[in-house]
Symmetry: C2
Subunit: 404 residues, 2 copies
């Protein structure tokens, strides 16, 4: 597998673009993104489990029922959620794609991200269509990745080339997500494109299995968004033998998909609202996978640990505390905890009890931009990883007055 340039345009047969159409007041900020496949593609999606769902989620669910799609349109600056005319507006966005790009509205994936509960007008989107068409190209991935950003401070995109049965394939993705991040069986906004030939059923299976260990293991602030969605288009342009069941080719595709999604997970956590560092929690020696996941996620979700990490304070008691209330059946008298980073690694707790350690060394390790909390449960063979970030003054600042 090889990391390559090109984001969502790295796979053959995909075009992307992004413009400022006027949903956001800041004219320097793109707010409308489009991705198009040159032909109809197998498509799959996973969605937020929040009972309050953005209108675009319902429309996309309907459009993906047949397992195929050809375009993805997404605006930032307004979530089109909790609005009485939300469904009409989301359908209107798809209709605009049909009108301007000759792709059936029913083959359009639609998404919106931004403030909840403010009416979204179709007008700027409609008037932006000619400019959007002009921006569309095989070099447009970065513009699209920018256009879906809200409080994100950096655009998030990645691509890989990989081989399936001797055929070179490509996969790329982009994501937005910085706050209201605590996915549950779905996630923030992620758009993945690939030229692999795969059936819609196997594509959905691959995506569903992947998110359990990727996007569902990320938390910035414990708030599950109303508009979370991961969607993927696979247009088959790579020319590999169609993947229509399990086996080596499917596993190869899943590994490539996981390379994209893991990268985007870390990028989202690291760019969490106000965050100064990425916190990775790795749990090993769990009795089963579910225990490993619950434990890892509980630790990266703890506000107290997040604040301690901001202060580079080796307060490992908060790690134990978060393990204890995770809901996982853990024998806490067997738990070891180590803090690690590029500056070194330092065991701080053995068998559930503290051991003497150098506070100076701990400070050095925890002052790095990427910090790992390593937990050994000594109860089995399962492991899991969760990603989060520190809790900072800026998180409070950003969210104290988000709407203005």
């Amino acid at each position: 597998m090889l990391m390559i340039e090109g984001g969502v345009c790295a796979a053959k047969g995909f075009l992307a673009g992004g413009i400022h159409c006027g949903i956001r007041k800041n004219k320097a900020k793109r707010d409308l993104a489009l991705i198009i496949s040159e032909k109809r593609a197998a498509a799959a999606g996973v969605y937020t489990q929040n009972l309050v769902k953005g209108a675009p989620i319902y429309v996309t669910m309907e459009h993906l029922q047949d397992g195929y799609a050809q375009a993805m349109i997404c605006n930032s600056g307004n979530a089109n959620t909790c609005n009485v005319d939300g469904i009409d507006i989301a359908k209107g966005m798809c209709a605009l794609v049909e009108q301007h790009f000759h792709i059936p509205a029913a083959d359009v994936i639609v998404a919106s991200t931004g403030v909840i509960g403010q009416p979204l007008s179709l007008e700027p989107i409609a008037s932006g269509m000619p400019a959007l068409a002009k921006s569309l190209g095989i070099d447009g991935a970065a513009m699209a990745a920018e256009a879906i950003m809200t409080t994100d401070t950096m655009k998030k995109e990645i691509a890989f080339s990989f081989e399936i049965g001797g055929t070179i394939c490509h996969i790329g993705g982009m994501a937005k997500g910085s706050g209201m991040i605590h996915p549950n069986m779905a996630t923030m906004l992620v758009f993945v494109t690939t030229d692999v030939a795969i059936t819609p059923q196997m594509l959905q299976k691959a995506l569903k299995e992947d998110v359990v260990d990727t996007f569902n293991m990320v938390s910035v602030d414990g708030d599950t968004s109303t508009n979370d969605m991961v969607s993927i288009l696979a247009n088959g342009f790579a020319g590999n033998v169609l993947i229509d069941g399990e086996g080596e080719a499917f596993d190869g595709f899943k590994a490539a998909l996981n390379a994209v999604t893991s990268h985007l997970c870390k990028a989202i956590a690291k760019d969490g609202e106000g965050a100064t560092k990425l916190i990775t929690c790795s749990v090993a020696g769990a009795a089963n996978k579910e225990t490993a996941r619950k434990t890892a996620k509980s630790v990266v979700c703890s506000n107290l640990l997040k604040a301690a990490m901001f202060g580079a304070d080796a307060n490992w008691g908060r790690v134990l505390c978060a393990i204890g209330y995770s809901g996982a059946a853990v024998d806490v008298t067997k738990v070891d905890v180590t803090f690690a980073s590029p500056a070194g690694h330092l065991p701080v707790c053995i068998q559930g009890a503290g051991i003497p350690f150098s506070e100076e060394k701990a400070k050095e390790i925890l002052s790095m931009e990427e910090v790992e909390v390593q937990i050994s449960l000594h109860a089995g063979e399962s492991s899991a990883t969760a990603w989060g970030c520190d809790l900072t003054y800026d998180y409070v600042k950003i969210n104290g007055d988000y709407r203005t």
Copy 2:
């Protein structure tokens, strides 16, 4: 029912005291509290559900198994949790009470609160015993309430007098709790004393039923502590007919208990680490009690809503979002939301969709020290209330380097 002075000494036959014994470096801060009943009392407790439990929790559980106790000792500055010798130290604290106050160690409720995972020495506690004895008196409640404080900025105590079958009874309580507050079937540290005559069984029943709607409905930061405990002593000095079953007297006692616990809940939430305001979420019209509770608690737990409240930003979409991921079965298209405070009340969402409102009025309402989020689910008759606070720069500051 009448609010009275005296805290945990308001009930007849109780003495309390508090001193600085040296667990904390700051000599101006009391760190050891004692409450004593003049005779053995019916006793009950509820405890944290965190799998990691402080050593004192285990010792107290053992001591309360027979339903009786006579004293409560509690230190602040160290949680005596995740220490290899924790149980010995907790038992040592009870033995010191036996030695100096002639109360059997098995009748002592012991608690510790502070940093997790740092060894607690018995030495300062032992040398503090003479001073503790000297501080003990019927006017010592405030000293005891001070001595259990950690990051609390104000002491929390309350008392009421009430009648049971013509007999005047008294009940008082004190609490500590500011961070790591997200009780689950138990809570922060709360000590309640009453002179009511009641059997241990009915006392435990009253307490257990009460916490579901009081301490279990408070959240400061979503972190369930390892040392949470609510305990109560009832020494019978009031001389009422012994409460040994359900009925009017039991209901009267429960109402008095609830007056104490509700007051302490609000005090804890309002004094949440870094908090500038109390946030009360009242849910009405729920299909059942559980739905009402889940909905209310999810709202006061949302970091995003808490940050918005800090900024006095009427971002009601975050209320809807938190209802949606609460896990409660709610028809979100029926939900009404109103913001209220002493400055007025302002409906902002009707039937799940936003309505126009004055941003100026909203700012005025949300700038008060006590703010209420009123939610109507229009699905039934059940209601619930949860208490929380805003998320502020100071929360991050306090927890960024708690140990130093």
